[in-house]
């Protein structure tokens, strides 16, 4: 059993995208170290509800690091202090007794706040709709080994596909750029034979959508890659740049 800790929570409260937000401070007492961060917020919300106050709104779903719904900016890091982990995979044992823990929503023009810590990430869906698919008639399923793919390429496509679309890259980027997400979603298809025929079209369509939705310009600070819960590499961004430049030179 981990020891119990007590700490101060500073949580961002905001009623809507256009409303003015502020921080609320809560004292948390005797929270066991093996409580997950989201369970800790559940405890807070139970307290708030029993006191007749409004609970804190935050996104969450699978709570096992694969859905990409949880999205808290904890003490200056998207998904908190751990590397390669989502907010739901953070446990309170990472914090010390007496700490002040500041929790903010993803802050980006592309992700307006819905309420408190919940932001609207539907911009990512729009980017996916712009070209994040393979539009061929696939027919009946083929044998798995009908199209041979070299192992290193399959691995790279798989690494790119590990992106869960949580938006931590945008939250971490000082430019509010979504390049890591877009490049991962372009790469997971462009690397494979099935995605190749539409590779250049896809790169153009998804990147233009990203620009159109008001995300920033990538300046290669690498903050996205450092904070990505799935450790997606910025070499995907280089591939997207390459595909995009090739597409434009061909036009």
């Amino acid at each position: 059993m981990d020891k119990n800790i007590s700490f101060t929570l500073k949580i961002w409260r905001q009623n809507g995208p256009k409303e003015k937000g502020h921080f609320d401070t809560f004292q948390m007492k005797d929270i066991p170290g093996d409580t997950s961060f989201l369970e800790m917020l559940d405890i807070l919300n139970e307290q708030l509800i029993s006191e007749g106050k409004e609970p804190v709104v935050f996104d969450h779903d699978c709570r096992e690091g694969i859905c990409g719904m949880c999205s808290l900016y904890i003490n200056g890091h998207p998904h908190g202090p751990a590397t390669g982990a989502t907010t739901c995979q953070i446990y309170m044992r990472r914090f010390q007794d007496g700490d002040t823990i500041t929790v903010e929503p993803w802050r980006s023009a592309g992700f307006p706040v819905i309420k408190d810590l919940m932001v609207d990430r539907s911009a990512f869906d729009k980017i996916m709709q712009a070209g994040g698919y393979v539009s061929v008639r696939t027919g009946a399923p083929q044998d798995a080994n009908a199209i041979l793919i070299p192992k290193p390429i399959a691995d790279e496509a798989m690494d790119a596909a590990s992106c869960i679309g949580c938006g931590a890259c945008v939250a971490a980027c000082k430019n509010g750029s979504a390049m890591l997400f877009v490049s991962a979603k372009v790469s997971q298809l462009n690397l494979l034979p099935q995605g190749k025929p539409e590779a250049l079209k896809r790169a153009k369509a998804m990147l233009s959508k990203m620009d159109e939705l008001g995300f920033g310009n990538c300046t290669n600070t690498r903050a996205c890659e450092a904070e990505c819960p799935k450790c997606v590499s910025i070499t995907n961004i280089a591939r997207l740049n390459r595909d995009f430049i090739r597409a434009k030179l061909k036009d």
Partner: protein, 229 residues
């Protein structure tokens, strides 16, 4: 035009102008080194790069590269601040793999511009400019004109002052930070990167930048020490 209306296009402009400016710095550094070995040789270079049509054409291209690089820098920064939203984070922390320079390129660039202004005042305004004005028929002080191609005289003059030496070294320091990020970042933007080359480019940028900046600094320091003797 994709070079202005797409994010990657705008970054391509930054990369291409940036790499061209790095090449210019390399030539400039190589010419400066001549002054250490032969004053005559250096003055010959200065003569060669006076107000001749080819040197002027190169100056115009160079100035255009600078202006484009700077305009795009401000434009990108403005867009990026807008994309960040109106609300700033209350707590921020820089992950270990994020270079400080990469997040402060505009500030470093501004220091470089101020240094550049100083440098143009110390050298260009006394060398190519008077020759150019003379050729265009303006009246120029004959003393200034007679020293216009005497580069070594101007170097000795400038770096006899401690204040100038310190200012130039600070300028070079900012340039070092600017280039260590700018060099590999340009390669990344042009798409010439992968898991293996990422570290190679970073290593190459550090070494290349260090050599260029160290050689510039060497000339300054040698002439400063000479002025003391």
């Amino acid at each position: 035009m994709w070079l202005s209306n797409s994010s990657v296009g705008r970054k391509v402009v930054m990369s291409v102008t940036g790499v061209a400016l790095i090449l210019f710095l390399t030539f400039h550094m190589a010419m400066n080194l001549v002054s250490l070995f032969s004053a005559e040789g250096y003055n010959m270079v200065c003569e060669f790069l006076g107000a001749n049509w080819y040197a002027l054409a190169a100056t115009v291209i160079l100035a255009a590269l600078f202006v484009i690089h700077i305009i795009y820098a401000f434009w990108l920064t403005m867009q990026n601040r807008q994309a960040r939203g109106n609300e700033r984070y209350a707590v921020t922390d820089r992950p270990k793999t994020v270079e400080w320079a990469s997040q402060n390129m505009l500030v470093l660039g501004l220091i470089v511009i101020v240094g550049l202004g100083l440098h143009l005042f110390h050298f260009w305004s006394k060398m190519q400019l008077p020759e150019l004005m003379h050729n265009m028929g303006a009246s120029v002080d004959p003393m200034t004109l007679s020293y216009a191609a005497d580069g070594v005289f101007h170097i000795e003059n400038t770096f006899a002052s401690v204040a100038n030496v310190v200012l130039y070294l600070v300028w070079l320091g900012a340039l070092w930070f600017h280039l260590t990020h700018g060099f590999w970042s340009a390669m990344q933007t042009l798409g010439w990167n992968n898991k293996v080359w990422l570290n190679r480019w970073k290593c190459i940028s550090n070494i290349y930048t260090s050599i260029v900046v160290a050689c510039f600094a060497l000339v300054i320091i040698v002439f400063f020490i000479k002025s003391l003797i």
